[in-house]
Symmetry: C2
Subunit: 480 residues, 2 copies
Amino acid sequence: MLRSLHTAARTNLAPTIKHLLENPPTASSLLTCNGHIKSIRHSKNAGFIDLSDGSNQHSLSVVFKSPLDVLAAHQLKVGQSISVKGSWIESKGSQDYELVFNPLEPDHAISIIGDVGEDYPIQKKLSTFQHLRNFPTFRHRTATLGSMLRFRSVVESKLMDFFNSQDFTKVVPPLITSSDCEGAGEQFKVESLTNSGKGDSEENYFFGKPSYLTVSTQLHLEVLALSLNRAWTLTPCFRAEVSNTNRHLSEFWMLEAEMCYVDDVHQLTAFSEKLVKYITNELRNGAGEDLLNSRFSREDVKIIKARWDSILDKEWPTITYTEAIEIINRVMNKGRLKNRLQWGDSIQTPHEKWLAGVHFNSPVFITDYPASEKPFYMPKSKNYESERPTVACYDLILPEIGELIGGSVREHRYDELLAEMKARGMNHEDMEWYLSTRAHGSVPHGGFGLGFERLLAYLGGMENIKDVIPFPRVPQSCSC
Amino acid sequence: MLRSLHTAARTNLAPTIKHLLENPPTASSLLTCNGHIKSIRHSKNAGFIDLSDGSNQHSLSVVFKSPLDVLAAHQLKVGQSISVKGSWIESKGSQDYELVFNPLEPDHAISIIGDVGEDYPIQKKLSTFQHLRNFPTFRHRTATLGSMLRFRSVVESKLMDFFNSQDFTKVVPPLITSSDCEGAGEQFKVESLTNSGKGDSEENYFFGKPSYLTVSTQLHLEVLALSLNRAWTLTPCFRAEVSNTNRHLSEFWMLEAEMCYVDDVHQLTAFSEKLVKYITNELRNGAGEDLLNSRFSREDVKIIKARWDSILDKEWPTITYTEAIEIINRVMNKGRLKNRLQWGDSIQTPHEKWLAGVHFNSPVFITDYPASEKPFYMPKSKNYESERPTVACYDLILPEIGELIGGSVREHRYDELLAEMKARGMNHEDMEWYLSTRAHGSVPHGGFGLGFERLLAYLGGMENIKDVIPFPRVPQSCSC
């Protein structure tokens, strides 16, 4: 027999502060708690440490006796990670329990696990989110940005519940692709480091041909929906746009869903409304508590709650593109003739924000855009008029944000799809794989894409989507 | 008022076959069902269609009266998508209900939604998985591969439940990075299409410097765990290895977890065992039914169940690298002197498969590998011996698969980490962001990465991981 052959030791992890507060141990028991020091204060008789480990929005109160002795013996500072062994006792403060450290008790102990330097950038005083972006490795130790990551995790978890309840299968379309879904040319090229710069002959391509990062997984998702009836995904997408706004990222996460036996754009708008309302309702019913409790500003909390209410408390209006142009000209641009939109013009972000934020004061669906504004895979609208040709698509527009969702019915007939690709001068031979789905057992279907960071920013009351993703990637910025 | 201003129509989606079978409508009601024809057969008096929409493992039985009339009127073929309106009645067959179509009933109807061509590649006769890989857009319409996608979705859902129950936050580390976590140089380079080939000056980089697809999100995940205590992710990772085996992909999904207040590798092995056992137990308790029911081969089902049992029915052994070498030499290589391993040699995949599959007949942990075999961020083993220097790491080895998980404690002390980076000749200035986490409030921590497709292949009884991901990417292959 070997000396140390043994079965896996049942070593447990130290409990999180979340776990201790939700499942409190017996009062008066001796306990070790770990975390970062958020603040320290003391009076003559007692000292107080707010200890947080980031597992939830709450700090654990550590009360220490003989504060002057303790502070003389330990150079305690905000930002340090420490371990405190003390008595777990019922508290008269805002929490049910606190940890008491008494230097005279032989079993009690306090130790600094990780010290902080003088240049530790996260201090008790509030910094702007913009300033905190300079400290990518520390900014999530702040209450609000830590909470945004937990919020993101909660929303993702609720999405899983929702799609499970609707018989969807979660799938993983590829991120490396040889196709360009949107045809906009704003792609990143991918090549192995070894082959990079070797030139454009077939054997110099790792994948045998030029390959790109996906801008949308829709085409592959359609393939999978045609096998599974309903499919969804939440994956990174990549766009090499040189734009630096508070609602664009070069690498962002997109929720995409695709469903069969759909031939009416209103089936898709109804489903989209159901999805966003489900998530928001879960937040209002408790899942959003962590977020609300980590905001110091009452004004912020009020704004967030008002957003949730405005999503939940009524049915959302649906207008066509043509109606939207008419409303914008009649109300928003009243008396300003030079601003008038012509039928066929783009509805710009300021128009969208005005429609949702001012005119309707609600999320709003705009359907049936001009065919010339949209990609090749959309079929004609139900009320198609040849002088004003439109397609069966929709956008969901939110106040403050503008477009959150873009979706459409998909052309599911082989001949019509091929004709449209030819009319647009596309290389349809490279797209034979996509066309093939229309050649055998095709099904009317449709779907949409939702910019996940935009949803999180809106529901979480953040102005900039760079603050709802841990390491934002934008032009000229990829520091780690 | 505008003509068609209206609130979102409450148009419902057609029910899935999963929904109909799980929530059967009232018997004798008139119902429309949609799906693909999996098989057709008929006798003199009745015809039978197996109709599947991919929403679950079951086909719906459609019974049609006057089969010769129906088959003459409709050119029904395997692979077509059809819509059938008929009577929903209680069945004497293996399912509780069936749909009856009677051409003499005026309300009944059958229509072909999407026809199939003569060259439709998916036929009733079984094809090999390898053959099916030639048809990326159709292979998931087969029972087994459709079921593998639903299986993947179920396992991901159970992972979410597990990590939620353990106070982990699900996070999204970046996929585009300027760092190389493993230092192996097997990276893909990323550049915007517009800038590609412009040459290597700063303004020609979209991100201001060379950037790559991540090979492991660990370094970024550590940053987030140090803010949140426990963090996990399930994201694509990319390796430009020129290897084409049944267990390698150029784009694969990795489950990574990182947890604080961990300083012993056995805390990590215990947690890993708990994770894999949780998922497997859920499968054995019902979540794996869909998978088992879609296998035609009883032998397959037996193998899958045996794997689940072997995972669940005992505690897994843990041995050190040094012990593993000793066992391999003493038992596997007995009498074969030229095969003997020296201390310091790599344990190869055949050794791993032998240890787990033959010697222990169980998943097995191997801990404390030689420092020279492992990356820079691992601290010395607890029982460090300077003549045989090892680090506090582990692999989880499975029968048939070899390595499933690789993990370690992480060096959390600034000076020690910096010294190791210098000793290895690394450019530590580029890694200042990572080092910074050790400069302020550092915490002992550790974690692991699990190859998600390998887990799915093992638990799902598939030989090749190309069959558990919808669009596998391997060298010289990125067809769509």
